[in-house]
């Protein structure tokens, strides 16, 4: 692997992931297609409409998943457990919880995401909290903040943004375009910049990266900030799409974002990232939930099925990854 930072200053032209990835990259998309076909069967008819609707819904999950992926890639098993609350808080802010014109509200919402990420990052890197504990504690503090903010009306979404977000043309939608744009930016960040190289180096060996001069603490903070910003974006976009913020709007994004990352093939030990994989993972999770809703089962049955399905899918992905690792180890 060529991602050694500072080595001779030469720009590595190979991406920092192993070359056998095409097969690994293909299967999440194949699984998504299979799920879509099953959903069509359940709903009683072959439908591209279903696929595009799911694609649109999956956007929000995908962005959240990208955030989790960045945090995870740094290699110490951190997740951002405050993500759902960041989404909800950003949603409320952008929908009118503070009195300011719409564009400013959106900026503040994303800035709040940044601040949350910074707090998580500082607790984790400077105060040496485990990432999970730091974000858990911050998450609960945010939860209380949201209780305050909930009291204010939260349905004033900028008219222009609302119409733009819901633009659709032949199945493709503005939301999808936004997602692809953001995903491309993240992918470029990870594959082509020094930041990306540092991130992958950190994940592969924290100690070696530190010795090679990677600014580990700053990187940890940056990772959480990226995740927080993405979460803020999700809050803003989701609120614009729905026409308002509502309590617990972020709740389903915790399990979904984590599952999307794991299913998409990003190894939990860090060191590798796969933007495409996470997008596919988000689509798979969204199709799963859509399928469950199509069955019109009770909330309890839906929750149970979602939990079992996620465990099954994630366990399957984990087993497959483990088999691949053993094979690679044996092949050497």
């Amino acid at each position: 692997m060529s991602a050694v930072p500072g080595a001779g200053g030469a720009r590595a032209s190979r991406p920092p992931w192993p070359a056998d990835l095409p097969v690994a990259r293909a299967w999440p998309w194949a699984a998504a297609v299979i799920l879509w076909l099953i959903a069509c069967a359940v709903s009683g008819g072959f439908s591209f409409q279903l696929l595009f609707a799911s694609l649109t819904l999956a956007v929000f999950l995908a962005l959240a998943g990208l955030g989790q992926m960045v945090v995870l890639a740094s290699g110490d098993g951190s997740f951002d457990l405050s993500l759902p609350y960041t989404i909800t808080l950003a949603g409320y802010i952008s929908a009118g919880a503070i009195s300011a014109p719409a564009p400013e509200r959106i900026l503040v919402a994303v800035a709040v995401g940044m601040a949350v990420g910074a707090a998580n990052g500082v607790l984790t890197s400077v105060l040496k909290f485990p990432g999970i504990i730091a974000s858990l504690a911050i998450g609960y503090v945010l939860f209380t903040l949201i209780l305050f903010v909930e009291a204010n009306p939260a349905t004033s979404v900028s008219g222009g943004l609302y119409r733009f977000i819901r633009l659709q043309a032949d199945g493709a939608s503005a939301v999808l375009v936004i997602e692809v744009a953001i995903a491309l930016v993240v992918a470029a960040l990870l594959a082509r910049t020094v930041y990306g190289r540092f991130l992958h180096a950190m994940g592969q060996s924290r100690r070696a990266a530190a010795l090679a001069g990677v600014p580990v603490r700053r990187m940890i903070v940056t990772n959480f900030v990226v995740c927080g910003v993405l979460a803020g974006c999700v809050g803003v976009l989701l609120t614009a799409y729905d026409g308002g913020a509502f309590a617990n709007m972020g709740d389903t994004y915790l399990l979904g974002s984590v599952a999307a990352v794991v299913v998409g093939g990003t190894p939990v030990g860090g060191g590798k990232t796969s933007v495409a994989g996470t997008l596919a993972g988000a689509l798979i999770m969204t199709l799963l939930v859509t399928m469950l809703e199509l069955t019109n089962a009770s909330p309890g049955a839906q929750d149970l099925s979602e939990g079992l399905a996620v465990i099954a899918v994630v366990a399957g992905a984990g087993l497959a990854a483990r088999v691949r690792r053993r094979q690679k180890g044996a092949a050497r």
């Binding site: 040496k128 609960y140 209380t144 399990l255 309890g300 984990g318 483990r322």
Partner: protein
């Protein structure tokens, strides 16, 4: 300090020894004199002082009885989380698991004792199943427990879509079988703390489990099975979950699968404040119990001072952050010497 990972001492397992050796060569002080539990004692004293300020009757027999009664579910949940953290994972669904046990106890256990006991045993078995999945698939524990939280919630809602249920008479009565004078909850709380201490700190089995948490590679090299160790820890956690559910049923005389949600944060906070470390297989069983009791006082204090109880999670979060910051500062000072 040599051998630290991210500034925290990594405990090397020494399965036969009572006092684990720290990576810098010194031996950790184990037992009641361990400084780790000190913070939770201080916290408890602060909480009780706050209570007394509000109502001087807080330390009477009745006051202690009431206090510890509501503390017992928190204590049990914290003990359960403690075993999971010892395994190197984090059970984010433990609140819902307790909720499910609560629902089972207040419905099945009342109508059909045999089926109820079977269902509760099923919860323990499900925890062991989670452990097996984690070991075999090498997926991080938190993802599995996160999925598990939906399973618990779904099952609980299926069994009881809205709060209700009742206490099985024999269960409430069973708690009355102690000496008069000292309230029963005291026995239970002290008993749990001592049991945890004996299991984890004074038995070879417990030392082995802590070794598993400390360094998996070294544990495997001693020839033991990591799967058995993780399964054992999760089984212990499952038992604690069932116990917490039973206690919740007795305390509230009803059940609500969503009612125990806040226990998840409290359980993690109690383990960490009580002296546990997320990485390295370090937990202090007595500290965990003390911290759990202290944390269970928070909602009472909030109510007593007329503060909105919605603040409870934030207060617990802030306490957790403060304690961990103090610990970080102490470690820095220690390393600088």
């Amino acid at each position: 300090m040599s051998g630290t990972a991210g500034g925290q001492a990594v405990l090397l397992p020494d399965p036969g020894a009572w006092r684990p050796r720290l990576a810098d060569g010194t031996r950790a002080v184990a037992g009641l004199r361990d400084a780790r539990a000190g913070v939770s004692v201080v916290l408890l004293i602060i909480m009780v002082a706050g209570l007394l300020l509000r109502d001087p009757r807080a330390l009477t027999s009745v006051g202690v009885d009431l206090l510890l009664q509501s503390a017992l579910p928190v204590v049990l949940v914290a003990m359960g989380q403690q075993f999971i953290i010892l395994a190197g994972d984090f059970d984010i669904g433990i609140g819902y698991a307790v909720g499910l046990a609560n629902v089972v106890a207040a419905t099945l256990l009342v109508s059909n004792v045999g089926l109820g006991i079977l269902a509760l045993a099923g919860i323990v078995a499900a925890y062991v199943a989670m452990a097996v999945i984690i070991e075999v698939t090498e997926v991080p524990g938190i993802v599995i427990t996160l999925g598990g939280s939906f399973v618990w919630l779904g099952l609980g809602l299926l069994m009881q879509p809205a709060p209700g249920g009742a206490v099985p008479g024999w269960l409430a009565g069973a708690l009355g079988a102690f000496l008069p004078g000292i309230p029963e909850p005291v026995y239970l709380t002290v008993g749990l703390a001592v049991a945890g201490f004996l299991i984890l700190r004074r038995s070879a089995w417990g030392a082995g489990l802590r070794g598993f948490g400390g360094s998996r590679k070294a544990f495997v090299r001693t020839g033991r099975s990591p799967l058995a160790a993780r399964a054992a820890l999760y089984a212990l956690a499952g038992l604690c979950v069932v116990g917490a559910g039973l206690m919740t049923t007795v305390v509230f005389a009803s059940s609500d699968v969503n009612g125990s949600q806040t226990l998840t944060l409290a359980s993690v906070a109690a383990v960490i404040i009580g002296g546990g470390q997320f990485i390295g297989g370090v937990v202090d069983p007595i500290g965990t119990v003390l911290a759990a009791v202290a944390l269970s006082v928070v909602p009472v204090l909030l109510g007593g001072f007329n503060v909105n109880t919605n603040y409870q999670p934030a207060v617990e979060g802030v306490i957790l952050i403060l304690v961990m910051t103090l610990r970080w500062a102490a470690q820095r000072r220690g390393a600088a010497q």
